[in-house]
Structure formats: C-alpha cells, structure tokens
Amino acid sequence: MDLPDVERAMRGLRAAGHDVTVLHIMDPAERDLPSSGEALFVDPESELAVAASMADVRVAYKTTVDEVIGEWRSMFGSLGIGYEIVSTDAPFGVPLRRAFALRQLLP
C-alpha cells in the first residue's frame, strides 16, 4: 500500500462522516530484520525482491521503518484518524483498548 492511495481513501471515509481507526499489524521481523546472513527478500504480494545483507542494512532498515511509521502516524493524525501498531507477538487487546481510548479523545 502506498501512502497517497491510503490517504485518498481515508479522506473519502472521513468526508462521509466515518470515524476511522487504523490498526497497523506488524510482525516483529518487520520491525527488526532477521538475525544475520544474506538473503533475497521477496514481498509475496508485490513480488518485489531485494537482496540484502542483514548486517549491512539492519540500522538503515530500522530507521526507515521508524520513518515510515512516523509518516503514517502523521498522515492519519492530520485526518483525525486513530493509528495504532499491533504487534503479532503480543496480545492484541492492549493496543485495541489503547486505540479506542484514544479514539474517544479525537474530534
């Protein structure tokens, strides 16, 4: 998903008067790269393939992921949309409660 496409869709939903909360489900491996080694990383949806050495790009990857999450959070915040990261390695109730509690505070 590209950010402009999502932003356009979210604007439509907000214009229609919906309250929206986005739950971004992420695997821990997507936040932090696998431990080591070199591999060809393939996105099964887009078939995008990237060859990389974990050690080489680990720092840059983590920085990029943080930047992307920041971009998402900023974009959803500007539209009055709640945004919460749901990690697959933790109980999902906690982030849901936090998301909807925050939702109460939104206009």
Binding site: M26, D27, A29, E30, L33, P34, G37, E38, A39, L40, F41, V42, D43, P44, E45, S46, L48, A49, V50, A51, A52, S53, M54, A55, D56, V57, R58, V59, A60, Y61, T63, T64, V65, V68
Partner: protein, 600 residues
C-alpha cells in the same frame, strides 16, 4: 627489495577471492518471504552510498591482507628495512693466539671473545650457515649447539697462529656456502705483530672487534738457549727478558733450579753451568707471572756429558795434535778413545774426525777403510792449486791440495764447507770427513785462528755422545722428519712414532726425540718472541689494513652483537608483511564490529 622465494608471488592470484565475493555477493540463493521488502528496498536506496563505501573498504582491507600474506610467503628482503636478517654465511674467526690469554679486567681476553662469539651463534637462525675458525687456521662447521660447544672448549694456542691462512679459510668457507650474504666476524686484540700481512677476503663483509683499551704491560722470556747444544759438561744458557724494568729470573734443568738472577731490560744474560745431569735434558728460564703468563717461561734443551776422550793418530800431523792439547788444557777434551782424530787410511772405528791421507799412495787404503767403517763417502780425484773455502767460520781458509768427496748411495750428510761447488768438509752420524790432509802444504786451515774453536765444536758438539740435534720450532709447526729419530716423547712420556713429517704439539715445551730406546735429540717448542709484544693497532688502523671495502669495526660488544648478520645481509620483511596483514584484518574486524554494534 627482492624475494628469496618469488614463486610464492603467484599466490597473489588469491586476491580475486575477496574481489569475486564483493562482485558476486548479490547472487544469493537463500530466498526469504518478507512482506516489508519495500522498506528494505527503501533502506538500501537511502543508504546505498554509505553501504558501497563500507563494502569497498572491506574489500580493499581483505585484498591488502591477502597481498601482505603472499608477500610474506615470498620471503622479501631489503637492505634498509625489515627485521631480523636474511640467511647469512658467517665465519666467526677468533684470535686465540697466545696474546689473547692476557688477563684484562680480571679475566683472559679470550674469555670475552668466546662470550661474544656465543652472542653471534645465539643470533643465528636455522637458515644461516656458521663456522668457527681459529687463528691457527682450523675450521669447524655445524649446528649452533655444536659450535657453542667448540667455542666453550677453545683454548689459547702457544703461538701467533697463522692469521693469513685463517682469514683465507674463513673467506673460502663463506664463499662456498652459496648464500648471497657473507660475513667474517673477527674477534682480535689487534696485535701489531700478528696483523702484519693480510690476504684479500673477497667480497665477504668483515665485522671486526678490537678492544679500545691499551694492552697490559708485559714481561716475557724471549730468549732461552743452551750454548753450545752439547755441554761437556760445562755450558751456558743465554737468556733475554722483555721488560720495562729489571726482572728476576730462574733457570732450571729437569725441574731443578740451578741459577737465579736479575736481568736488565732486554739484556742478554749468560748463565754458566756444569750440572751433574747427563744425557738429553730439558731446561727452562722463568720469570714471575704477570697478566700474560704463557710467555713467562721459555724452554731449552741440551745434551750434557763428560768431556770426550780423544785419541789423535800421529798420521794427521802436528797441528791437530797441538790443537787437541789446547782443548785438553781447557778441559774440553780428555785423553782416551771415545773419538778418533785420524787419517782416512788408519780409520778403524767411529766416531772419528777423518782427514785425507797425507800420502796420495794411501788413497785406496783410505777408501777401503771408509767402506769398512760404514762412512758413505769416498775420496775421489786429487786436485791441486789454491782455492778458497766457503762456509761458516772458514773466512780466509784456502786449500792447495784436496780430494773430491764422492757421495755413495744413501749418503746423508751436512756439508760444512765447500770449495767452489765441491764439498770439502761433510758431517754425518758420528763422523766428520775433511777432503784435505790438515797440513800447511795442503791447507792453511790448521794455522787459522778459527781452527781450534772449530775443532773443539766438532769434537764436543758433533762427535760426542749419540748423534742428534736440538730443533727449534713454533707451536703447531710442521717440520721435515729428522732421519736420526723415529719417535717423539710427549709431555707424559709416551712415545709417538714419527710419520713423514714431524707435527709439533700446540703447547710450548721440550719434546725429546728418540731412536729405539734412547733419546737422540729434542724439539724445543716456544712461542715466537714477537707474540710477547702486545702493541695493538687501533680500530681505524685495522680497518685500513684489511683489503675489503665492506669492513665494520667496533670496540663495543653491544654494537658487535647488533651488527653481526645484519651488516652483511639485507633484512627480512616477513615480519613487517605479516604485521601488515594482521593490521588489515584487525581493521576489517573493527569495521565489521562497528556495523554490528550499530545494528544492535
């Protein structure tokens, strides 16, 4: 820079390995499903410059590490860089001449040389070739442990040795080693008398140690001589002491002191004696020990016996009879039948002083008598006319009548006088043969002043007792075998049969020569007097004397050790190359470690 094993440089192709790893790293077989691949692509895209620089740095570090290892394998050497030394052929030449036994600072100089030689051996690697050469020219080669043992066993010789031969042999062995780096490491006291004439040592480098301190003052017995060699029984000992002041001396025969005295510097003292000993005896002249003890005693040998009893034949004429009476009056000879002084025609036994017969008719009888007595000479053609005689002590002697002396098969004799090119007086075992009758009409010799002393010397030195001589030689010398002896007594009394040559011991002393069971002479071995003069060349003077363009001279032990091997050879770059490789790998580890820490 050059390489001792250049073929190993072919291993440089191994640098292709990190290069290929760098270029082919994107050909990765492991495939991982990763939904966030887009983030990965973005991360790579945004950090591609940093990643490329880091990977390039790693590749370069790995290539350099490999190249350094390859260079080390090729055994690089350089003259001005590096550590250790390239394989070197080193001949350690130790001057263990007599002067090296001088005590300096409480210990013999040779001990210091031996310690410094061991320093050199300790610095050797398994790739070096080592020899130990001593000043007498002996060469020992082998492993370091073997040479260390040889050095420990080294003792000073009793003489000056043969420095030129020792240097030549040292140069020969290092040249024959097949190594590019060659060095002769010479330890010497720089004695002037020793390093007088020197050979060329080729292109080998000479590392020379000579002490800078002045030599100790030395006193030495430089002359000890029995005069004459045969005492009947009176004789004298001549001695001279090298000293800066008066020195007391002691003279002994067979270990018994028979004279003491004080000699002025360089004065030749004459000690008269008529000792009771008989036969061949050994004597010494000694002074008090000083820093160089080896030359504080000097050896001599003499034969002592009763005055010979001489029988004079009436046929030899009145002049000989008068001369014998003079000798008898001075107790040099007595009446008796030990030695005959006789005309050839009357000869019946030896020993004898034999003259040509006055009457030419008796020539045949004389030759028959010579044959019967076993004298290998015959009287030949009679010659007349004045002719000069040449020989020691025969100045002004002429002959008017003489006979040719014809040698027979197996004749071995010493020619004492000649007329023209013909022998006139010959001396052999137990005989002296004169080619003229000793009458004034045949020769003026009987009326010359030199006649009586000559006659006395012949009777008391040549014909008295058993035939034999005293030989003088330097320690370790090789002499022609004396035909009148068949064995030599060692200092322990053991008899060693003589070979084709007479090889003398390296220790000073008197060694008796024997024939059968009897002593027939002696060899007196003494160091050359010049070895007692300890004046030294300075280090710079020594450098100028050696005919090599590559001479390093030092008077410092630390400099000596540091310069051994290194001075002659290019240094090895193996260690620096390996250190460079290690440094590259450490930097690579640091780069990788820093990346890992950031990732964590």
């Amino acid at each position: 820079v050059s390489f001792l094993a250049p073929l190993y440089l072919l291993l440089g192709g191994a640098v292709a390995v990190p290069l290929l790893i760098h270029l082919l790293r994107r050909r990765i077989g492991l495939r991982v499903e990763f939904p966030a691949a887009r983030y990965l692509a973005r991360a790579e895209r945004e950090n591609s410059r940093t990643l490329k620089i880091r990977n390039l740095l790693l590749m370069l570090l790995r290539i350099m590490a490999l190249l350094a290892i390859v260079v080390a394998a090729a055994r690089p050497v350089a003259r001005w860089l590096g550590a250790g030394h390239a394989p070197t052929a080193v001949a350690i030449l130790i001057d263990n001449s007599l002067s090296s036994s001088a005590v300096v600072n409480g210990r013999p100089l040779l001990d210091q040389f031996k310690a410094m030689a061991r320093d050199v051996v300790s610095s050797a690697t398994s790739a070096d070739r080592l020899w130990l050469v001593t000043i007498d020219g002996h060469v020992r080669g082998g492993a370091a442990s073997l040479l260390r043992d040889e050095i420990n066993r080294l003792e000073p010789i009793a003489g000056a040795g043969d420095p030129a031969t020792a240097l030549t042999r040292a140069a020969t062995v290092v040249r024959g080693a097949g190594l590019e780096a060659r060095q002769i490491a010479l330890l010497t006291d720089g004695q002037r008398s020793e390093w007088d004439k020197l050979p060329s040592i080729g292109d080998a480098q000479l590392l020379l140690y000579a002490p800078s301190a002045p030599p100790p003052s030395n006193r030495a017995v430089v002359l000890a001589e029995a005069r004459p060699i045969r005492w009947t029984p009176r004789g004298t000992v001549a001695a001279r002491i090298l000293s800066r002041d008066s020195t007391t001396y002691r003279v002994s025969l067979n270990g018994r002191t028979f004279a003491r005295g004080t000699a002025a510097p360089n004065e030749e003292v004459i000690i008269r004696a008529a000792p009771p000993e008989r036969g061949w005896v050994a004597g010494t002249v000694e002074i008090e020990a000083d820093e160089l003890a080896a030359d504080n005693v000097r050896y001599f040998a003499t034969w002592i016996g009763a005055a010979p009893a001489v029988a004079v034949s009436p046929g030899v004429g009145p002049f000989i009879k008068d001369a014998i009476d003079v000798l008898r009056g001075s107790e040099r000879v007595t009446n008796g039948n030990d030695i005959g002084v006789i005309g050839g025609d009357e000869l019946t036994s030896l020993p004898a002083l034999i003259t040509a017969p006055i009457d030419p008719v008796k020539l045949g009888a004389a030759n028959r008598a010579l044959e019967r007595a076993g004298v290998p000479w015959r009287f030949g053609e009679r010659r007349t006319g004045d002719a000069s005689v040449r020989g020691t002590g025969f100045d002004g002697v002429t002959t008017a009548v003489r006979y040719d002396l014809v040698a027979q098969a197996g004749a071995v004799a010493e020619t004492l006088a000649v007329v023209g090119r013909d022998a006139w007086i010959v001396a052999g075992p137990r005989y002296v043969l004169i080619g003229s009758p000793l009458s004034p009409d045949a020769t003026n010799f009987p009326v010359r002043a030199s006649f009586v002393p000559w006659l006395g010397a012949v009777l008391t030195e040549r014909l008295v007792g058993e035939p034999g001589q005293v030989l003088m030689a330097a320690p370790g010398a090789q002499l022609p075998r004396p035909r009148w002896a068949d064995a030599m007594e060692t200092s322990t009394g053991q008899r060693t049969p003589l070979g084709e040559t007479l090889d003398l011991p390296g220790l000073a002393g008197t060694y008796f020569l024997t024939r059968g069971d009897r002593r027939v002479g002696a060899v007196v071995v003494n160091p050359p007097p010049t070895e007692s003069v300890l004046d030294r060349y300075t280090a710079s003077e020594l450098r100028d004397r050696f005919q090599t363009s590559r001479t390093l001279v030092t008077s410092d032990r630390a400099t000596w050790q540091a310069t051994a091997f290194r001075g002659a050879s290019r240094r090895s770059l193996i260690e620096p190359a390996l250190l460079l490789a290690l440094a590259m790998l450490i930097v690579e580890a640091i780069v990788i470690g820093a990346r890992g820490r950031r990732a964590a």
